[in-house]
Subunit: 189 residues, 2 copies
DNA sequence: GTCTATAGTAGGATAGAC
DNA sequence: GTCTATCCTACTATAGAC
C-alpha cells in the first residue's frame, strides 16, 4: 500500500467522523484526537475545516459528473445506461463510502463558490438521469409510470448505498450490481 | 406550564431549521430569530435544545412503531402489508416532512436514554419489515431476490420521501401512493 | 412571555518554541 | 511536523427586571 500524504490522511479521518456525527458536530480537536495529534498540528497540512469538507464533497461530485457524462455520451440503450449508472454508484461507494456521507448530508455547509458549483453539478446530474429515463419511456424500453417517481426512487436507493453496503459483510460487488439492477429496473421495464 | 401551544410552535420552527442545516448547525439564536423573539425567551417554554430534538424524533419514531405494529398484526397478504407500509410513510411525510429530516439525519445527537430507545425502535421496525418480506418470499408472493436488497431499496426510498414530496407541486397523495406501490413492488412481485 | 445582561464553556484558528 | 499557549468569537443556558 502506498503511503498517502498527511493531508489525505486527515481527509480520510475527517470523512469517518463526518459520517458519524456530521460536519458541524465534529470539532478540529475531535479530528486531531482521532489521529493522535493536537488540533493546532492539523493546520500545518490544511488551511481550514471548510477546506476539508469541500475537498471531500467536490472531488466526489466531480467523479459522479464525469461518470455521468461518459454514460450520457455512450451509444447504448436507455436500460444499459441505467445499469451503468447503478455500476457507477456502486463503484464510488466501494471506494469512498465515508465521503459519500458528507456529499449527501453536509453539502449545505459548503461556502458560497463551492456551494454553487456543487448545486450546479447535482442539478445537471439529476437532469441527465431524468433525460435517460424519459428517452427510455419514449422508446418504450421503460414503462410509463411517473418519470419523477422512477428517478426519485432509484436515486434515493443509490444515494443511500453508502449506509448499507458496509454493513453487508458477505455480498460480492458483482452480485450486488446484478441484484440491484434486478430490483431497481425489473419494476420499471 | 400551560404554554403547550407556544412550545409546539417552537418545535415546528426548529423542525424547519433542522431540516435546512441540521441540529448541530442551528443555534438557539437562529431559532429565536425565526420566531421574532430573543433566545432567552425560548427557555420559558422548553428546557433545552436537546429537548426539542428528542421531542421531534421520538414522537415520529413512536408513530412509525405503532403504525408498523398495526400492520404486522393485521390479517392480510404480505403484499398488502407492504402497501400499507408505503401508505404509512406517505401519510407521516405529508403530516410532518420537516420533522422527518431530524429523524433521518440527527438521531445520533440524541442523548443516552432517548438514543437507546430510538435505536431499539428503529431496529424493531426494520426487523418487522424484513420479516414481512421473508414471509412473502416463503409464500411465493414475492420474488426471491436478496431479501436484504429489497428491504434496503424500499426503505431508502420511503425514508427519503420527505426531501422529494414537498418539491412536487401537483401530485395527489392517492396517485402518489398508487405509483409508489407500482414502482417499488412491481419489480419484486 | 419577553427582555437585557451575563456566566461559563467550547469552538476555529494563529504564533512561536522545539 | 507537532507541541503549548492563547486569541477571539459564538454557543447554551440562567437570573432577574418589566
Amino acid at each position: 500500500m502506498k503511503t498517502e500524504s498527511r493531508k489525505q490522511e486527515i481527509i480520510n479521518a475527517a470523512s469517518v467522523l463526518f459520517k458519524e456525527k456530521g460536519y458541524s458536530a465534529v470539532t478540529m480537536r475531535d479530528l486531531a484526537k482521532s489521529m493522535g495529534i493536537k488540533a493546532a498540528s492539523l493546520y500545518n497540512h490544511i488551511q481550514s475545516k471548510q477546506e476539508i469538507l469541500s475537498t471531500i464533497i467536490i472531488d466526489l461530485a466531480e467523479e459522479f459528473t464525469s461518470g455521468m457524462n461518459r454514460i450520457v455520451n455512450s451509444e447504448v440503450s436507455s436500460i444499459q445506461k441505467l445499469e451503468n449508472i447503478i455500476d457507477l454508484h456502486i463503484d464510488v461507494t466501494l471506494r469512498n463510502a465515508d465521503g459519500l456521507a458528507s456529499l449527501n448530508n453536509d453539502w449545505m455547509h459548503l461556502e458560497e463558490e463551492n456551494l454553487q458549483y456543487f448545486e450546479q453539478m447535482r442539478h445537471d446530474y439529476e437532469e441527465s438521469f431524468r433525460n435517460i429515463v424519459k428517452k427510455g419511456v419514449d422508446k418504450a424500453e421503460i414503462k410509463a409510470y411517473s418519470i419523477e417517481i422512477i428517478v426519485f426512487s432509484t436515486l434515493s436507493t443509490l444515494r443511500t448505498l453508502y449506509l448499507w453496503y458496509p454493513k453487508q459483510n458477505d455480498i460480492d460487488a458483482d452480485i450486488l450490481k446484478h441484484d440491484m439492477v434486478s430490483v431497481l429496473l425489473q419494476g420499471v421495464v
